[in-house]
């Protein structure tokens, strides 16, 4: 699924935990690992990194180190492109402060600008996170069939216990408000059809996917998908949320946030952003 996984490291207190988490995923996906550090290469830092690699027992044959100097986000993106990375792993804080939200933190900028899929870990652990409960965004978007397929593949490989696919009824209020011109029976029928339509959308996508042992639970909500996904993840205490993104987010998106940007402002759990 992922042939090359990259991890951006910054010698922060969470670095060791991030490398542990990455190591587990690299083993599960049988991938190559690329460690990227943006900053001056010094003997001290090299020694420190060697020590952590030894400690976490990374496979040195399948691990590549990249040292680059320059603007962190720009250089990480460049390294990902040069190495044809499929998945970039990054740490991020759960909540963005107002200033960070508008100015952006390195973690969030990476998420917004990455050319490949990004796995954001909000609480990396030394003994690795077990992704038991996975939630996939099933909202009708162009990228959704791909997101569901990737989410299911991910769930199969890491052997997730529960997989939920959430789909929203777009503009439910407007549609049902409009349906108030109809009789009670017709309005109820409209309501039923709205739900069935969204269920069928996800079912049709799942039909084309090899599910293996995964038994996804389809749930339909009314409201904005980012908010509903965040609420649902918090409610079931999900380990991972899988969403798609097919365009780069910029500063303007933060002034007038849309769904993905809403989601990034407060991450409900670990987040896998699938990109085309």
């Amino acid at each position: 699924m992922y042939q090359k996984i990259a991890l951006a490291i910054a010698f922060s207190p969470r670095m060791e935990a991030l490398i542990s988490e990455t190591k587990r995923l690299v083993q599960l996906f049988d991938s190559e690992l690329i460690l990227i550090h943006i900053g001056k290469k010094t003997d001290e830092l090299e020694a420190k990194l060697d020590e952590i690699i030894r400690k976490t027992e990374l496979d040195s044959f399948k691990t590549k180190l990249i040292w680059k100097e320059g603007k962190p986000v720009k250089m990480i993106m460049q390294a990902c492109k040069e190495e044809n990375v499929d998945l970039l792993i990054a740490g991020a804080l759960k909540r963005e402060g107002l200033l960070t939200y508008y100015m952006g933190s390195v973690g969030r900028k990476i998420i917004r600008k990455a050319p490949c899929s990004v796995l954001t870990l909000i609480e990396p652990k030394l003994d690795s996170t077990v992704f038991e409960k996975i939630v996939i965004n099933g909202t009708q978007l162009e990228i959704t069939p791909h997101v569901i397929a990737m989410g299911i593949d991910f769930s199969k490989i890491i052997n997730a216990e529960q997989v939920h696919i959430l789909n929203e009824i777009k503009m439910y209020g407007l549609q049902m408000g409009t349906a108030s011109e109809d009789s009670e029976e017709e309005a109820s029928q409209t309501r039923r059809e709205l739900v069935q339509h969204e269920m069928k959308y996800v079912e049709d996508i799942l039909e084309k996917i090899e599910l293996g042992n995964v038994r996804p639970n389809i749930k339909v909500t009314g409201g904005r998908w980012a908010v509903e996904l965040a609420r649902f993840c918090e409610k079931i205490d999900a380990d991972l949320l899988v969403v798609g993104d097919d365009h780069k987010l910029n500063f303007f998106d933060r002034i007038f946030p849309h769904d993905l940007e809403d989601l990034l402002s407060t991450l409900p759990c670990n987040l896998l952003i699938v990109k085309n």
Partner: protein
């Protein structure tokens, strides 16, 4: 404080009852013919007003709508509130995340579908002001107003049509909906600015201050205002009666915003619209709450407004076939081709652009509000306003069958 006397109270209650009953009857008739309720409500107004009732039963019409001046003032208050609430609900319908999700295609369609009618409407009205019935003393503003009035899309109407045709969730449907939302926002922004240019508009605030204030108010409401709404709404949802607390405070907020924009020299309805957008875009305003607000406003206040149009205007004496013909031809063609070419420029397929063109030509809500404001401000005459109403009726009645036809085109 002056109050209505016994007879005036009875008169007001009879006015409201007759309006709501007849509006309901004709909305049901419209429903039977698969037409939007608004068409029936406008017809109800024509029947209750000087056109039919006043013509054939002048006594009854006089008793209902002409006997008590104080009652009519009180009723006008209801109409004013209805217009404000209509704009509030129009704002609630605008969902910015839907607009973002559709991206540039929707923007091209929206902008092109406005630019062409505005330019064409302006040129026609400016060239033939006496014939068309725009205020010659306020020629530029009145001509722009006419152009703007024929450039609006009826979002609620097109939503209904798309739902009936099972197109609401398709890419074409969402594209039309998003474009119509953009038209709404742009339309009311432009409206606020050009009304300030009118000599009969604001209290001499001036053009640039109005433009600045309008943009500032919009920006503040959609950023800081929305942030505050996001802080307050969860508390309202948790601590107060639901949906009672939310409904009363939402309307209070709407009236506050409307009075504020009126105070600073922008029309009241702009404040109602923008607060509607800010509130509707809040993640804490549940879809259920939106549904209740829709039902409450669309079935009580919208009929009062649409019926009141027929009460204000005599559709027989004011009917001018030449004006109506020009308004319909210019209105339909420019809106259609604007949206069509906008779609093509945005990379939308020919067939989808045709569907978008027809869908964007749907009218029947905000354009009538705009026309009425222009009429009340002396920018347009009664025959031109009638032309705009007839354009709205024809456009909303024909959109459904035309979209159905366009979907089967082999192009």
């Amino acid at each position: 404080m002056e109050t209505l006397n016994h007879k005036e109270v009875i008169n007001l209650l009879l006015q409201l009852a007759s309006i709501l009953i007849l509006a309901r009857v004709f909305a049901e008739v419209a429903r039977k013919f698969k037409q939007p309720a608004v068409v029936g409500e406008i017809f109800a107004g024509i029947i209750l007003g000087p056109t039919i009732l006043g013509n054939f039963f002048p006594g009854a019409h006089e008793y209902l709508f002409g006997a008590h001046e104080m009652t009519n003032i009180a009723f006008d208050g209801f109409v004013q509130i209805s217009v404000v609430l209509l704009l509030f609900i129009a704002g609630l319908e605008v969902e910015l995340h839907i607009v973002w999700s559709q991206g540039k295609k929707a923007l091209y369609i929206a902008v092109a579908s406005m630019v062409l009618p505005i330019i064409a409407g302006f040129v026609v009205a400016y060239a033939f002001p006496e014939f068309l019935g725009v205020n010659i003393n306020d020629r530029i503003v009145a001509s722009t107003f006419f152009g703007l009035a024929i450039s609006i899309t009826g979002l609620a109407i097109v939503a209904r049509i798309l739902m009936d045709l099972n197109l609401f969730k398709t890419s074409s449907g969402l594209l039309i909906i998003a474009a119509a939302m953009i038209v709404d926002v742009l339309g009311w922004l432009i409206f606020s600015v050009i009304l300030s240019l009118s000599e009969s508009g604001t209290e001499g605030l001036g053009v640039w201050p109005t433009i600045g204030l309008t943009l500032l108010f919009t920006l503040v409401m959609l950023t800081i205002g929305k942030g505050l709404i996001n802080k307050v709404l969860p508390w309202i949802n948790k601590k107060l009666a639901w949906p009672g607390g939310l409904l009363s405070l939402s309307l209070a907020l709407c009236f506050l915003a409307a009075s504020f924009t009126e105070f600073i020299g922008i029309h009241a309805i702009f404040g109602a619209f923008i607060i509607g957008v800010a509130l509707g875009d809040s993640e804490y305003l549940t879809e259920k709450a939106k549904e209740i607000l829709h039902q409450f406003i669309n079935n009580i206040f919208a009929p009062i407004f649409f019926v009141s149009i027929g009460l204000k205007v005599n559709f027989i004496t004011g009917f001018d076939p030449g004006i109506v013909g020009v308004v319909i031809i210019v209105g339909l063609l420019t809106k259609y081709y604007g949206a069509y070419f906008g779609g093509r420029i945005g990379g939308v397929s020919r067939k989808e652009s045709v569907v978008a063109g027809i869908g964007m030509s749907t009218r029947g809500s905000m354009d009538i509000v705009l026309g009425l404001i222009a009429l009340e401000n002396g920018l347009v005459t009664e025959p031109l306003f009638i032309g705009l109403v007839i354009l709205a009726i024809i456009a909303s009645m024909s959109a459904g069958p035309l979209i159905g036809w366009a979907r089967n085109l082999k192009i």
